[in-house]
Amino acid sequence: MSDEQSLTQLLDDWQQGDGAAYSAVFEQAYLELRRIARQRIHAMGADITLSPTELVHEAVLRVMSTELNWNDRNHFFASLSLYMRSVLVDRARARASLKRGGGATHLALSQVELGSDANSFDLLALDSALKRLEHLDPRCGSVLHLTCFAGLKRQQIAELLDVSVQIVDRELRFAKSWLTNYLNDHAQQ
């Protein structure tokens, strides 16, 4: 591993100080997350697109009663985003396996839904591309993850990873191009 700090490493360090309270806060934040999502859709109809950023931030603000300094907040958003990612990927994977069913050849799947679930596969594809990138280049992967799942601004990402904003921009630019290319390559297969 190179000497640059990866996101998970940073989070680990931060986590050291906190222990059990930390995961409790997570669980709570996630419950809030779901509740807010539900409320929004009720209030605004099914067409609304919820921004994950907004959701995460709102959930975090609700569960964090104490004042955190900025770096802690960034850390927390970042942590929660890892957690959210794993929850979302879990759900998408569970649905994908439901879709595939149990190899029951005698079943006729309703064709209507075959296309409709494409997004959950997208998320899985995004996740596996991210994993690959995180493996090849931890810092670049962290920047992409934080952009997709934590909705952190470049300045915040830069603070979190302790690099300049220019580097974040450059990493992100590359990451997006790499991602598109990777997803194209893998879509063909």
Partner: protein, 924 residues
């Protein structure tokens, strides 16, 4: 993923970053230039070209798939009037623990059909989704006239999953019986039909888990139909061996327990223990009682007084608290019901509860699976085995559950024991064993079974001799009583314990007999897979490469056939195969292949932080390391160490082993200065866990000593080898592989320190022993011969050294082992140099170095470390300038393996600045 992937990625990134800010025209030109470069990689160029052509993603695009998934979190659940695929929901007809059921009509105009559509209610968690997926899978495998069929399934655009099932137009069985005034005979007949459906499900390895009158409808034509497999379980999920089950079951069962109906649930289900087919038998017994009009008293116990005595006995037998006291299968229950219809005597009124008490233990015993032992094989990574055994010790908790039962069985009768509190586990066991010896004299089979169980508990708490004593007593009984299944099980356990004690020669025939029995009794069972795995691993330790592979490949085929090629059973066998390949293979191809396949399965089934995943990862590390892909191996080894620390804590054996592996990877990459702190961390952890100088520290201490030796830190290495010998001495061990290795290390250090007399005292007897021993591996013999030749040369005995070199049989080690060939050429070179044949020596040095570059790669630090010899040769033959230049280059290229306070630094400095060091004569 190989290092070439990483290389390629780095090149893609560099090129992309160089080009992305250029105007389009210049980009194309630069891209063309790059493609024409001598070292151009077409894939890199293509990738960068594609990447530059794409329109840049907006952040919003990026977040879209995430948002869609988030939206699913909040979208509304389906309700009446909604259309799901081809189905329109008409009205809600039921609500269960996790979902709602709607009556639905096919709305695509193809044909008229009604169905029951089940959707999850509330915000479905990933777990609820998995449950629904499992129900779908289970139902798909169940086509039976008495089970409601699965018609369709999918999920809504909002992400709500649903199942469409045959709609059964009927009434609950109790209502039907009461309204139609059905006779007791016909009620029994209905239950027999139902038993057939449940038995069918059991044959498909499905347990219903929620049998109750409201889940059984009777159609107008009087056909009972079984509904709602929502909490059904796959038998194999419920019965797989202990370690997986221990990890997976508690979570799953919590979910199940919320879903079942307590009134009809079996005691084991309510106690959240593992459930099996007997659980459904229990529920069927209760349904039967209810259909026959049995009531319950104030403590909710069945009141069977009003029932015919035989039927009451059948209900009692089916609803025994202890699993093994019930009918052995649903068919046995329905057979008994048929006997009652035919006025034959029913089995239920016979019976012997003492026998079944033993059976209960037997069935619930968490299997200690194969692969739990620890055997230390030097220079082979076998640490994982130890890690697994530590888990087995952790499953002492599971053993305690059995012990609790044993306390019930044994303690009550022993007032002295009963009065005490906080008895140590072993004391309770000993008490139980004594009591076992004195009781059940006329029940030899029960005693044998109990003995087997006690043996397993002893094994699991590490008291292997006690375990063996139990098996040795039980096995003759099982043999004499003609219970081959029990005998096979006891033999397997005995073989396992012997294996765990590292007595492989004794274990082999015993496991062989277990396999023969199981082949005959249960040729298609996971038990046979377990025995084959154990056998293969034992044979690997016995050095029987072909046999080991044959057994494990059989295990692989069988596991694959039983559970599918992507099952965890297969992944476990593949982990064994990877391990065996680490014993025998020179390159990592097969290790990597098996480890990768196992890794993928474990990741999918358990996630990337599970101990099974990490075990497979460890072999992947080793595979890459064997293939000299040190970059990849190091990355993965870091992942391994980090995740182990997260999973088990820093101060744990698995973390210590992961650090050991990490250090090993670095060591073989020649990165010894970086490896040293890692191995020290590993050793520090183990010292905190076991105290200093425990016998189990042999492997890390040996690695540390070897690293020190290769860094040139001879004093430190010498102290390490002496400490290792002291451990063996304290054990009272006589000549063994370890002692020989350590003495070899000391001999070599003595020679490097210039004490050639002491060196000979260590090496010569070792060589004589190894030459006399036919089992000595060719390369071990070669190493010893070479070392002896070096000692002789260092003493100036050039002719004997040459004679010894001439004895070396290169064909025995195969013609393409560059590492050994280098060693041999190097010694020839040094001997030629000592004899003053300089031209010959130089050619041999070059030949040795060519082997190194081929075997290790020209950039490997070790390739350069070896060049010290040529540098000294140059210095000694008046070529001071060339010697200095080479020495300086070595200083740089081999830096990762040169300790500043070590011998190599000293020797190199002596070449670079000869004035500072008058004595440049060395003793390589």
């Amino acid at each position: 993923m190989s290092s070439s992937d990483v290389d390629r990625f780095v090149r893609i990134k560099a090129l992309f970053n160089r080009l992305c800010d250029l105007p389009a025209v210049q980009r194309d030109a630069a891209l063309t230039d790059a493609a024409l470069a001598a070292d151009a990689d077409p894939e890199v160029i293509d990738a960068v070209r594609n990447m530059l052509l794409q329109t840049e993603l907006e952040d919003a695009d990026l977040a879209e798939s995430v948002q869609t998934e988030v939206n699913h979190l909040g979208s509304d659940e389906p309700s009446s009037g909604d259309t799901l695929g081809a189905w329109t929901l008409l009205e809600e007809i039921g609500e269960g623990g996790m979902g709602k059921v709607f009556l639905a009509q096919r709305s695509d105009g193809h044909f008229e059909q009604t169905a029951a559509v089940k959707v999850l209610s509330g915000l479905p968690s990933a777990r609820a989704l998995r449950y629904l997926a499992r129900e779908r899978q289970i139902l798909a495998s169940l086509t039976h006239p008495n089970i409601s069929r699965l018609l369709d399934g999918g999920s809504t655009p909002g992400g709500w999953p649903y199942l469409v099932m045959e709609y059964v137009d009927g009434v609950p069985i109790k209502t039907w019986c009461d309204e139609q005034a059905v006779s007791p005979q016909d009620r029994v007949q209905l239950l027999i039909e139902l038993c057939d459906a449940v038995a069918f499900a059991h044959r498909q390895l499905v347990i219903h888990c929620d049998l109750k009158p409201s889940n059984i409808l009777v159609t107008r034509d009087g056909r009972p139909i079984l509904l709602d497999f929502g909490v059904a379980r796959h038998l194999l999920d419920a019965m797989t061996d202990s370690d997986e089950a221990a990890e997976v079951l508690p979570v799953e069962q919590t979910a199940t327990s919320k879903a079942y109906t307590p009134r009809y649930a079996s005691p084991e289900q309510r106690a959240m223990q593992r459930v099996g087919t007997a659980s459904d038998i229990y529920s069927l017994g209760l349904v039967l009682a209810e259909l026959l009009g049995a009531g319950r008293n104030s403590t909710n116990e069945l009141v069977l007084d009003g029932l015919p005595r035989d039927l009451a006995a059948i209900v009692r037998r089916a609803t025994e608290t202890e699993v093994s006291a019930r009918y052995a299968g649903v068919d046995a229950l329905s057979d008994d019901l048929r006997r009652w219809l035919n006025h034959e005597p029913v089995i239920a009124r016979e019976g012997d509860n003492l026998y079944v008490a033993g059976k209960w233990l037997h069935r619930n015993w968490p299997w200690a699976s194969a692969g739990l032992a620890f055997v230390l094989v030097i220079s082979v990574f076998s640490w994982q085995m130890r890690a697994e055994r530590d888990r087995a010790v952790a499953s002492e908790v599971a053993a305690r559950a059995v012990t609790d039962f044993m306390i019930d069985v044994f303690q009550g009768a022993d007032p002295e024991v009963a009065g005490k509190r906080d008895l140590p586990l072993s004391e309770v066991l000993d008490a139980g064993r004594e009591r076992l010896a004195g009781s059940l004299q006329n029940q030899p089979l029960v005693r044998a079974e109990m003995g087997g169980i006690l043996g397993s508990v002893y094994q699991n708490i590490g008291q292997r001799n006690q375990a063996l004593a139990m098996y040795e007593e039980a096995i003759p009984v099982a043999r004499a009583s003609g219970d081959p299944a029990l005998l096979a099980q006891l033999l397997h356990k005995q073989g396992y314990t012997l294996y765990d004690q590292e007595d492989f020669p004794a274990a082999e025939p015993i496991v062989g007999e277990a396999i023969a029995l199981r082949e005959r009794l249960a040729p298609n069972s996971l038990e046979l897979v377990e025995s084959l795995r154990l056998m293969g691993t034992i044979q690997a330790y016995l050095g029987q490469e072909d046999d080991a592979h044959a057994q494990l490949n059989r295990a692989l085929d069988l596991a694959s056939q039983l559970q599918g090629p992507q099952s965890t059973a297969v992944a476990r066998v593949r982990t064994d195969l990877a391990r065996v390949h680490t014993f025998f293979d020179i390159n990592g191809q097969e290790i990597t292949r098996h480890a990768r396949a196992a890794l993928d399965i474990f990741e999918r089934e358990f996630g990337a932080n599970h101990f099974h995943y990490l075990n497979a990862l460890e072999f992947l590390v080793i595979g890459h390391s064997y293939d000299n892909d040190s970059e990849q191996a190091t990355v993965l080894a870091h992942e391994l160490a980090d995740k182990r620390a997260a999973l088990y804590g820093v101060d744990s054996y698995p973390t210590a082993y992961a650090l050991f592996t990490l250090a090993g990877v670095m060591e073989s990459a020649g990165q010894r200065l970086r490896a040293r702190p890692e191995i020290e961390r590993s050793l520090a952890i183990q010292t905190r866990l076991d105290g200093a100088n425990a016998v189990s520290h042999t492997a890390p201490m040996y690695r540390l000593a070897r690293i020190d030796m290769s860094l040139g830190r001879l004093d430190s290495a010498l102290a390490g080898f002496k400490a290792l010998l002291a451990i063996q001495e304290a054990l009272g061990a006589e000549d063994n592989l370890f002692i020989e290795e350590f003495e070899f290390g000391i001999g070599r250090i003595k020679r490097l320190q210039g004490d050639v007399v002491a060196a000979q005292q260590y090496i010569q007897p070792l060589l004589e022993r190894r030459q006399a021993n036919a089992a000595t591996l060719p390369y071990v013999l070669l190493r010893t011969q070479l070392e002896m030749a070096r000692v002789l040369r260092s003493q100036g005995q050039l002719e004997p050294a040459a004679d010894l070199l001439a004895q070396i049989d290169l064909s025995a080690i195969g013609g393409n082992d560059d590492w050994r060939l280098c060693d041999v050429d190097m010694e020839h070179a040094l001997l030629s140099a000592a004899r003053g044949r300089n031209a010959e020596a130089l050619a041999l040095f070059k030949s040795a170095e060519a082997h190194l570059d081929r075997g290790l790669g020209a950039d490997h630090p070790d390739s350069w470390l070896f060049r010290i010899e040529r540098a000294e040769f140059l210095a000694g033959t008046g070529q001071a300038e060339a010697a200095r230049n080479l020495a300086r280059e070595i200083r740089v290229k081999a830096a990762p393996s040169i300790a500043e306070d070590g011998l190599w630094a000293q020797r190199l400095n002596a070449i670079i600045e000869p004035a500072d060091s008058l004595d440049s004569s060395t003793n390589y």
